[in-house]
Amino acid sequence: MVSQAKILVFSTEKISDPAIDMAGLLKLHYPPQVYTIAIPCSSGVKPRWILKALENGFDGVFIAADGSDCSYGETCTEKTGAIVGKTHNIMKERGIDPARLKMAALCSVCSESFVKQIRSFNEYLLKSKNS
């Protein structure tokens, strides 16, 4: 019985990563097997990186998208959504549960939301892993 799922978070340097930092500052605890890689913009995540994570031992990948706060333009949500859609299709083809890839928009102060999302994602992944 595994008690923690391993989650890779793709955060964004200017928006969602500061929110994750603030979760730490506020001591809002979440499972320690949640690792973050910060990139400039969530619409720059390559599907091959997500698949690499899932096929190498991560139980889930969470894209902490910029949403409408993105400093690179308003199309960010739409573009990140397209990446998720495209990767979901590949995951289905490879027999990977698409729900192991999740995306949510996080603003620079959305610490509580991050922790809430990551805890519920962890629960889902654990349930499916232990079932």
Binding site: I20, G24, L25, H29, R48, G57, T75, I83
Partner: protein, 576 residues
Amino acid sequence: MDKKLGVYICACGGNISDYVDIEKVKEAIKDEDCVLLARTTMFACGDSNQKDMEADIKENNLSGIVVASCSPKLHLTTFRSVSERAGLNKYNYVHANIREQASWAHSDNKQGATEKAIHLVKAAIAKARFAKSLEPTRIKSQKSVAVIGAGVAGIKASIALSNMGDTVYLIEREGEIGGKLASLGKIFPGNVKGGDMVERLNAEVKNDEKITLLTNTKIKECSGNIGDFKIKLQETKSGESSPDSEKEINVGSILVATGFESYNPNVGEYGYKEIDNVITLPEFRELLKNGKEGKNLIFKNRKVSDIAFIYCVGSRQVKGENKYCSRYCCSAAMQSSLDIKEQFSDIQVYHFTKGVRTYGAQELKYAEASRSGDIFIQFPDKEEPVVYSEKGQTLVKVKDILSSKKEVEAAVDLVVLVTGMVPDSDKSVGSLLKLPRGRDNFFNEIHMKLRPVETVIDGITIAGTCQGPKGVMESVNSALSAAVKTHSFVSKGELELSPIVAYTDANTCEWCGACSEACPYNAISKNDIGGKTVAVINKTTCKGCGMCLPVCESDSIELTSFTNKEIESMIEILAN
């Protein structure tokens, strides 16, 4: 791998070491490939440790460093500077955040926090192995600035820029400067009159040798990039233009301060243009100037005894497009009411509001108006007042929120629609400069909190009400902020652009155009290289967002510092 890495693990005076066993972290990473030395330190950012790091880099000829400490948002610049001082290219330094994202986030689980820190440091080492020395792109910058719009924001920004030593072209489409400020009465705080303020600013601008004032002038064309914008101007005196009236200026940066327009109500909106004693707030300000006869206020030859102000006309609309609050109008209406009391006796004022928003010190005006006998009635958002005419009388009927929506009716001699701010209807400047607009249709800053006066177009800043509704004081604050940012683009005569940009592999690229379509900055073009059509990325226009990466079917695009090798090596480490 021939990299020689130094790794520094910070205790942060206990902030990290109370929850993360930093000695265990050191032991776990010291034998990693390429790690030449690993040290723990009480404060990595401390002066003495910075000096030790410099010495380590020089003595051991390190080709990269990893610092595991607090968030990179706090000390990225510190450790980049350490690298540079020691003669190491700053892009060979990689950061691991083991405070906010390990010790603090998992202070409830010391073992988990330590394990996580080990993984994070190992991942940073993996990335550092592939890190490359990068040089910023350097471009020349003209030491001059174009300020578009000579309202209060444009004028104040121009004066500030001139005081900082920049050559300023202040461009105004009208014949006079001052914009809407000239028509304002008393301005809070200080009760200075708008007209007096314009007169003073006008004299200041005209006596300033570094400011070239170009009135009756429009922007015809704009080309170039940050540091080197070429703007073609056209003089439009008496509405006519000729090729002789054209002029070109070359500037390093552009500050846009094109202002706002007052909302123009539709015919029939609260009886506007249908009932003859329904006017807007700007029209009422004119009446206050010209409608005085003795101690009476006269409108259309009739003495005015009762006035109704209806708030939020053209803003906070439930049904219309303008959902935003116009911020200044509650205070402007309150000031107008106090002006009435000061000039005329026996006028009763009714305020029909959606909730008064006289924020900050402007609350004093609200309190003063309340004390002077004004009546305030708040109506529900979705049940707006009805203005109608009956037996020669104008009536305002409204549901009062404080008496459980009891219907209240007031017969008045004048209805003043407190109209909000809307974006300037002349869209030419925004279109020429390709400035993005928000959902409210005002120009959009990059980030409301982090980069509040910059636009996504490098070198172009925004100030005042072209960015969104603001009072005079707020407009001036934003103008001074934009002036400082603008000055930073031109002050050195040279600009450094980030080397973190995307690049293509011409060998594998089969031009399909998807990357060009995904790029929000038009940085990708189709080029022929050796007889092959490929995508080429302009490194001065690329902002390094990476939006082009995932759309490339042949995976021919990489982003510096975020290459497949770097990201995937981190993933491999973290996954184990």
